[in-house]
Each structure stands twice: as structure tokens, then as C-alpha cells.
Symmetry: C2
């Protein structure tokens, strides 16, 4: 029974590696016997490439099918190479349709066709239909195994049907009530079936305020719906509103985690990188972000270069100028972060955007004044020049206000233009704060300190 904290230990992993080195299949299977599918997937992920190949060659045919559904895409791609087509077919047939689709979608087209040809016609039809939906859609997330009954059935009839029918899914959370066109008219929670007397009709206990998701809906919207309405499952329908399948909470955890993680990675400039990517793949992915940053850093340098005469006259400007730019960059990033996060959780929308912009302006102004006083004092004391302190303070106020406005208006603008605000905002915001920071400080200095 899994209890928090008893994940895979280094000792256990070491044991697995030793058995692999000895190619001791029997001992390996015995060690894995009580291990949860998700933990076997984790072990496979933690092994080196060579050990992984060995592992699959040795016990690939014997591990439970759900292990394949639990693997991360990158590792699954690799692992699928090591097993034969019959194991793949058996795996796909054993899994629920949503998990089977996970495994199938990663195969190349020829292999996918080969597997689909070898499974039963009814399963094939289900999977082919699911594969036709876009990759991040509700249609892909849904499993085609569910229980549906007509409204005029009694609770007793429903229970008898469930007891007598071996074809039904072993595990389900609710019963859908459908009309003759197979359109859902309501949903009955299993606890309600259990708590109701046998003669009562299903139509008398159904909820008609249940959630219906269209198959081509984006999975991110699906996740929001589950969060917002505290769902544990929801019906997925086709364009004619016919019941196609059901999405359950466990499918949604992964979506929520991945979508929230995507924003972190995008803001940090590492796009869709994964720790399992190779060095060259990762370096290539990060290169383009750094290259963009190089261009913007050169813009900032051009601004400085424009004031080279001033710096020559007063080297203290070169010493202090990074402070203004750095504070602006950080303040802008703060605003940007809260904006991107609030857009993702829909706490900011067209309904309150103006109020939030006003709020950020206020925060920028307030902190701008505070840091103007602080840095002004630093500049004055360090170089014994009160006017230098004033110039530093003035540049600081300007840059913190501009940072706040850039931090909110840039992501809001991108969002309104239909571009993911997490993607490009960061580089725009820091460019603005760098350029404005250097421009304001060196410009004010040139105007008021020199000549």
C-alpha cells in the first residue's frame, strides 16, 4: 500500500541495476512484482540508456501495460523501439482507450498502422476516431469506455445490467443517461444509484446540470473547467452532441501540471525542454532565446555607446548605470510574473484589466520613490556628489514606473493579440527596462551633471 515518501530508494535502484547486469530475468520480475506501474515507469526513466535497453529486452514483454502509459513521451519513444510489435499490440489492447492513444500517438505512422491492423475492428474504430482529434484536444484525453443507460430504466434494471454484463469497464465514476440518439440528457453519480430504491426510474434521479465538453475543446480549457467546477469526471460529446467518452480527474492532473510548468519554462526561456533531452537538443533550444537576448543587449549597448563622451568625462556613470537597469529589469519581471500567472488562472481578464494596470502603476510609483531615495543616498555618499545622487534617483523613478507599465501592458497586449504572453514578454520587458534605464540615467547625467 503506497504511503507518502516510500518512492524508489537508491538502494532499490541499485538492486535493479545489479540484476540487470547479471541479466537475471526471474529475480528482476520478482523484485518488480509488488511495485506500482507508476513506480516501474519511474525506474525505467531513472536508468541509463544502456540499462534501459537491457531492461526492456529482458522484461519488456512481462511488465504491465499501464507502465507504458505512465512513461514520459521522450522515454516512451525510446522504450517502444526495444519491444516487438506483438507486445505493443497486447499493450494497446489491454489499456483503456485514452492510455492506448497516448502510446499509439508516439509511434511512427507505419508502426501505428501495423498495430491498428492487428487489433479487433471495434477497438480499432475507437482508437482511430480518437487519433483524428487534435493532439491537445478533449477528444484525445477522453476514454471511450463508459456506462450509458436509457432514462426509462429503473435503478434495479441498471444494477442488474451492470452485474450481468462483462463488457463494461471495470471502473467508472458515474452513469450517463442518454436518449435514443445517444445524446446525454443527464448524469447519475454511483452513490445515488446505490442510495436509491430499485423501482425508481433513472430519469428521476439524474442531474441535468452536468458538464459537457466538446471533443475539439483545448485540453487547457478542460482543465480549467474541472478546477472551476470541482469535477471528478465529465462527458465528451461530438459535434452532434452524441456521447463519445468520458474524461476523469486523473487525466486532468497531468494537464494542469504540464500547463503550469509550461509557463515557468517559457518565462525562463527554456520553452519545451525536458531534463531527458540531450545536451545538443537542449543547447539548440536555448540558443535562440539567448540569441534574441544578445540582440537586445546590443541595443542597450548602443544606447550606452551614444553617451561615450559623458562616460569618458565621468567614469562614475559607468560604475552606477547597471544599478538602474538591473532594478528596472527586476521590477518589470515582478509585474510580468504576476500578470502572466493571473492571465493563466483567469484572475485577470478584459473585465478588470484597467483596474490592474492602474494598480501596477501605483506599485511602480511607490517602489520607485522608495528606491530613488535609497539609491540617491548611495550615489551621493559613494562619489561625494549630491547632484549625481539626484540624477540616479530621478532615473530610478522613471525606470520603475516604465518597468511596471511594460510588465503589464506587454503581456496584456500579447494576450489580446492571441499570442501566449509567457512566450516573448520577458525579453521585451527587459529590453525596455535596459534601454530606458541607461537612457534615463546617462541622459539626465549628460543634461544636468556635465558641460
Amino acid at each position: 500500500m503506497p504511503v507518502i515518501g516510500d518512492a524508489i530508494t537508491p538502494g532499490f535502484l541499485h538492486e535493479i541495476r545489479q540484476k540487470l547486469n547479471r541479466e537475471d530475468k526471474v529475480a528482476l520480475l520478482a523484485a518488480l512484482d509488488d511495485v506500482h506501474e507508476a513506480d516501474i515507469a519511474e525506474i525505467i526513466t531513472l536508468l541509463s540508456h544502456d540499462h534501459r535497453a537491457n531492461f526492456m529486452r529482458l522484461v519488456g514483454r512481462d511488465i504491465p501495460a499501464p507502465v507504458f502509459a505512465e512513461l514520459d513521451d521522450g522515454v516512451r519513444d525510446e522504450v517502444v523501439e526495444y519491444i516487438d510489435i506483438d507486445t505493443l499490440v497486447a499493450t494497446v489492447q489491454e489499456l483503456d482507450s485514452d492510455d492506448a492513444v497516448f502510446v499509439l500517438e508516439d509511434l511512427d505512422t507505419q508502426e501505428q498502422q501495423e498495430v491498428l491492423q492487428k487489433i479487433s475492428a471495434s477497438d480499432r474504430a475507437l482508437l482511430e476516431r480518437a487519433l483524428e482529434f487534435p493532439e491537445d484536444s478533449a477528444g484525445r484525453l477522453a476514454q471511450a469506455e463508459f456506462v450509458a443507460v436509457p432514462p426509462f430504466w429503473t435503478v434495479g434494471q441498471t444494477i442488474d445490467y451492470l452485474r450481468d454484463n462483462d463488457d463494461l469497464p471495470t471502473h467508472f465514476l458515474e452513469i450517463f443517461v442518454v436518449d435514443p440518439r445517444h445524446q446525454p440528457v443527464g448524469v447519475v453519480h454511483l452513490s445515488e444509484v446505490l442510495r436509491t430504491q430499485r423501482p425508481v426510474n433513472m430519469e428521476n434521479i439524474l442531474h441535468d446540470d452536468f458538464t459537457v465538453i466538446e471533443a475539439d475543446a483545448d485540453r487547457e480549457d478542460v482543465a480549467r473547467l474541472f478546477e472551476r467546477y470541482n469535477l471528478v469526471s465529465a462527458a465528451v460529446v461530438d459535434a452532434e452532441r452524441r456521447l463519445l467518452g468520458v474524461i476523469t480527474a486523473d487525466d486532468v492532473f497531468e494537464v494542469i501540471t504540464e500547463e503550469a510548468g509550461e509557463d515557468i519554462l517559457l518565462l525562463g526561456g527554456v520553452g519545451d525542454e525536458n531534463v531527458t533531452d540531450s545536451v545538443v537538443e537542449a543547447a539548440r533550444g536555448r540558443f535562440s532565446w539567448l540569441f534574441l537576448n544578445l540582440l537586445t543587449a546590443i541595443c542597450a549597448s548602443l544606447v550606452i555607446g551614444y553617451f561615450d563622451g559623458s562616460i569618458e568625462q565621468m567614469v562614475a556613470l559607468a560604475v552606477l548605470m547597471p544599478i538602474v537597469a538591473s532594478m528596472g529589469g527586476n521590477a518589470g519581471t515582478q509585474t510580468l510574473t504576476i500578470t502572466v500567472r493571473s492571465l493563466a488562472t483567469q484572475e485577470i481578464s478584459a473585465l478588470n484589466a484597467a483596474r490592474v494596470v492602474y494598480r501596477e502603476f501605483g506599485i511602480g510609483l511607490l517602489n520607485g520613490i522608495l528606491f530613488a531615495v535609497l539609491t540617491g543616498a548611495v550615489g551621493t555618499v559613494w562619489f561625494g556628489d549630491a547632484m549625481l545622487g539626484v540624477v540616479l534617483a530621478a532615473a530610478m523613478i522613471v525606470n520603475l514606473i516604465v518597468a511596471a507599465l511594460a510588465g503589464i501592458l506587454i503581456p496584456l497586449g500579447l494576450d489580446r493579440a492571441g499570442i501566449d504572453p509567457a512566450v516573448a514578454s520577458s525579453v521585451f520587458v527587459t529590453t525596455v527596462t535596459d534601454v530606458v534605464g541607461f537612457l534615463a540615467f546617462l541622459g539626465f547625467a549628460t543634461l544636468f551633471l556635465l558641460n
Copy 2:
């Protein structure tokens, strides 16, 4: 029936505001009649402070209890001020215990006591016990309403018990089988109860490999467990392994969203800020982060100040030096982001840390060489000085390698020391890349270009 995309429209919100201005309670309640509790909570959140106060004064007694559970903490704090103690008592009594605790934990101690005194002794005991668990613990998340039966009951007896007993929760996902000490020995999914013949004993269909969570476990660990093992619900037990309550998937969505969001906010230097915080609260929260950054920016300036003689001799150094620091900062942030994210999803652990450090070194070296060539060319062409280009290139390689190492070793170190790596890593990493960037560039220039 909620369908994706039919959230609150600006028109509907406008309508609500008009009814509020007219103080038309009847029309307001009619408009809210079909609206889901989560959407009413959203409307309350979107209203201005004045409208919110009006709204609660007008219909606070009439809106469904779950609305209070759906509100964000900050808004709930405010809203609770506007309603009388009897409404609060009614709300707490109507909610499931986990949601009631949400509402109670935000009240001040005196008000909390007042509410607790006015509810039934059995409810009070449940809630007081829940409130004793730490704020982010499994004990707080769990609801005390669940169904438990002894192992020797038959399926038929269980169904009859469910049908005849009005005290049971209306909605549950599984039945716990408990021994005489009230320790869970297994779990039966409702679909299995429904699919099994009446004479079969519950002990014959129970799963004993179910998940048990200790009440003082951190809610972040609870979320990981749900994700990892695809749970829709899990039993919560006390220190004696007695069944206390159950956590369901819908409780966990919020945890996952919040925890992932926390990392974004911490990395961006905005801690636990919420868009509903006031300007002064938000500015105060962000001040400390910016202040820390000011101190590190001054460190970087001290490094530059040490080379003021060199800059006086060659102002091109001042123009180019931010490029080295900025590239290092970005490269470090990339590594840091992927590290923090992978630690949160447990893709990096003690089991593979060394491999990941080696990988980051490789990425830093590779991109260091590429950007050394690029920036070396820029420096040479811009200032017509090949040696300046070489110095820039050398500083770039050094700083990108240091950035990669800082970006992985700092968060790993903090994590090992038991400190959340998202909290403080960012400022350490950019300090390292600023200082090393200026030091390397100005240092190499002083050694090889001047004199």
C-alpha cells in the same frame, strides 16, 4: 449545463452592477438563480469593493453556502465582514467539513469560536479536529464525511445500509472497509459494489493496495501522490492509522495549481502576492525582493568601480560590459528554471543529480563557444579592435559556463539544505553572473588590452 467558454460575460456583469445600483434584491436573486456557485464566487471577485459590500448586504444571506468555499482567501476575508454570524453558522453547517474549514480558518479567533459554539457538538468536534492540523496538511484538505463498513458485511447489506441511512454524505466515490479499531483494511470502488451480486462479502472485493495518507503530510506531497498514482480519492488516517477522512481529486486540483503557481511567483520575485492585494500590500511584498537585488547590484557596481581606471582608458569597455553580464544572467536563469521545475516534478533527485549537473556544464560550454564567436565578431567589428573581440569572447565563455553551474548547483544546494529552491536561487544566480561577467570582461581587458 456549463459548456466551455460560457463563463461570465461583460454584459451579464454589467446587468448585475445595475441591479446592485438599484438595490433590486429580487431581480438580483433571479439573475443568479441558475448560476453555478463557482461563477457566483467569480462575480463577487470581479466586483469593486463598494459593489461587493452592497452585494453581500443585499443577498449575502441567500446565496448558496458553497460560494463561500469557492472564493479566494483575500476576497473571502473581506466578504465575511459583511455577513452576520447566523449566516456564517448556517454556511459552515451546510458545507462539507473540508470546505467549512476553508471558511473557518480565515476568521479571527473570536469569530471562529462564536461560530463553533453555535453549531452541533458532533460537527464542532470534527471541525475542531481538522483545525488542529497544520494549514497545508492533508488533515485540513480531508473531508470527514465518508462511508465505512466492516469487512464481513455483504454487498446487499451495504446497499441496504446506504439506502436506509439519511446521515450519510450525498456524494461519495468509494466505500472504505474498516476493522473494529476503525483502521482501513481496504477500499471498494462503487462500480464494484454495483457490479457484484448481493451475497458476496465486502472483504472479497476490497483492494488492499489502496493509498493511505497521514493527516500531517504536506499537501504538496498529497498532490504528487494523486498525480503519480492517478487517484480520484484517498484515505486520510491519524497517527494510530485510524480513518479520519477522505481527500478527493477536486481538492487536489487547487493544490496542484497553487503549488505550480507558487514556483512561478517565487522565481519572479513576487512571493505570495495575489492580484486582489492592495497597492500598498503588493508594493511592500515586492520591496524586499528589490532591496535584495539592490544590494547585489551594488556588489556588481563595486566590481566595476575597481576597474574605473581601465574604463577611463577605454570607454568601449563600459559600452560592452553589460552584454557579458546580461547573457550570463539569462543563461543562468534558463538553467535555474529547468532545475527548479524538475525538482518540483521530482524529475531531478539525488538519484540523477550528478548526470544533470554534467549535462548543464555541456550546454553551458556549447552555447558559451557559440556566443563567444558571435560577440567576439561584434566587438571586433564595432570598435575595429580584434583584441577587444577576443577579450569579449573569453569573458563570454567563462560567464556562460559559470552561469550553467550556478543555475544548477545553487538550487540543488538549497534543496538539499531543506530550503525551497524557488525562493532565493534567482537572486544568487544573477549576482554570480553579474559579478563574474564584469570581473572576467574588465579583468581580461585590463590584463591583455591595456598597459
